[in-house]
Symmetry: C2
Subunit: 321 residues, 2 copies
């Protein structure tokens, strides 16, 4: 199952809004179409949107609209830094190689990082663990391999028999993507509503939490899907290890701490409707922050392609960002 592929001068994106019910692809022939696909979450997940953005830049460059492409893609989603880093890479190297070759390089690098990080991460997973995860961090989110779900898959392949609690991840139910991917890998799992995590922890039903990141700051604070920060507080309160996985493209050397991360607020309808059907009374308003920020002190370890890091300092020293 290919999440992202480039052929015949177009980028094909597996439409994640239709999964797990339908496998459809969206064809993007221009940077503007890629930008819109990122904004509307046809493609989602920090590493995956960075790959899509690299190809979006390439399509822009080929059409002689390089600057417009950078500008449009950078503003398609504000929180994940991987997207900005992909654009930065395309920009910095634009005189060196053809845009499509560059996009292909970025893609290969992202997959390679995810391939490596999952093997580091798997060392942290004990036998027969009950693992809690949030949002979707599988191949869908990263183009290939995945981040946190890649770690779980690697642990599964090595015979550690993980069981996974899948948080549904309101409002967009990325838990449906995660359970679909786990099902395909035959990894046992159950879906829970987001707020059932705490009582499972209290009942000894969670051995570790592992999830992804959208932007990791210099001090180790990181942004990830809304619902990550509460999980970190809860894991801390229950003395449960809390692991963050991301390729180094998620590191943001320009931001000192989480206070400066821009949190995307998405359409209220994501909260107030399901599949076009209204849940709330007419006139009801919602607030829909798509991400939250978790302070570094709640993180047990960061896992990147360069290893396992027990502190923000170690992370920044050990990872070639």
């Amino acid at each position: 199952m290919e999440t992202i592929s480039f052929r015949n001068n177009a980028l094909f994106l597996l439409d994640q809004r239709k999964l797990p019910h339908k496998e459809e692809r969206v064809k993007c022939k221009t940077y503007a179409e890629v930008s819109s696909a990122i904004k509307n979450m046809v493609v989602r997940g920090a590493p995956a949107i960075s790959v899509a953005a690299a190809y979006g830049c390439a399509l822009g460059a080929i059409a002689g609209k390089e600057t417009q492409a950078y500008r449009s893609l950078i503003s398609s989603r504000p929180t994940a830094v991987d997207l900005a880093n992909a654009i930065g890479f395309m920009r910095a190297n634009r005189t060196r190689k053809s845009p499509l070759t560059l996009a292909g390089e970025w893609e290969k690098t992202v997959y390679d990082k995810c391939r490596r990080l999952r093997l580091h991460g798997a060392r942290l997973i004990p036998r027969n663990p009950k693992i809690l995860t949030h949002c979707n961090t599988g191949p869908l989110a990263a183009g290939k391999y995945g981040t946190a779900l890649g770690v779980i898959a690697a642990a599964h392949k090595s015979g550690k028999r993980p069981f996974v609690w899948v948080k549904e991840t309101r409002p967009r139910f990325q838990g449906a993507l995660t359970s679909w991917e786990l099902g395909r890998m035959r990894i046992p799992h159950r879906v829970i509503v987001d707020s059932a995590a705490a009582s499972l922890m209290a009942g000894g039903e969670v051995d570790l939490v592992i999830l992804g990141a959208d932007r990791i700051c210099r001090n180790g604070d990181f942004a990830n899907k809304v619902g990550t920060y509460d999980l970190a507080v809860l894991a801390h309160a229950h003395k449960i290890p809390f692991y963050v996985t991301a390729p180094s493209s998620t590191l943001d050397s320009r931001l000192k701490s989480g206070n400066s991360i821009q949190i995307e607020r998405r359409d209220e309808k994501e909260v107030l409707e399901f599949s076009g059907k209204r849940i709330y009374a007419k006139g009801t308003r919602a607030l829909n922050p798509a991400f939250d920020v978790t302070p570094h002190k709640l993180v047990t370890a960061y896992i990147t392609e360069d290893g396992i890091f027990r502190s923000p300092d170690a992370l920044w020293k050990g990872t070639k960002a």
Copy 2:
């Protein structure tokens, strides 16, 4: 808007599953119909189901099926003790008065307790507060007045200008009932997904948490809608007051601590489907605990019809359970 009414030998229940879209009533002519309405959540909220159960007992007694009615109603929902306490009241007084008179007495007592507790609670609410609440605790949940939402309404009436963050309360979206009730009372509010609460707290957007309870044990541990315990941990971590409101019919003198509370597990479909439409891939399984247990040490104060209590000891001494 009447949640519960008895007329022409039948109990009429406002169908809370249809709200806020349709105002329909379900007519129950037998104890079995009342029992089924409680189980299917036509009527919900600990005080409201206790009133419905009292009338269910009365219908059973009138039909000469007293014992069957007790048995059926007690097992309709296991977690809220108010239901058991209502049945206990009907049973203990059955030789004293007619069943319908007794049910009416129970109803009146419940409303009277809620009327009184909201005035105590309102004293705890500062001016211009940003209040976070969970599930639904308004007139719908209590027949009249409500518990936590009653307190908020009383604070609003006295000019304190509360603003309310309404947690959507997955899986059944009781937040839609709360926002509908707040809208009718013209109290400003916004809906959030359950896992957005933590980042609002971190951002200083929550001054206090107030919610209801389904069963309060001797040591002060209490059961309430799943998503309460995590909120208590989060409030504690952010030094935000966490208030629990309930009429004394929610006190369970037989249970020493929260460990012994039976937590209802409801149909997985509540998590996996919305309005009959599948969210997850075929074969996906869920775990759906309807409640969780919060330890007493996380409670700032309990509010009953008898006052405000800062400790479990004070609660049990001060409330005539």
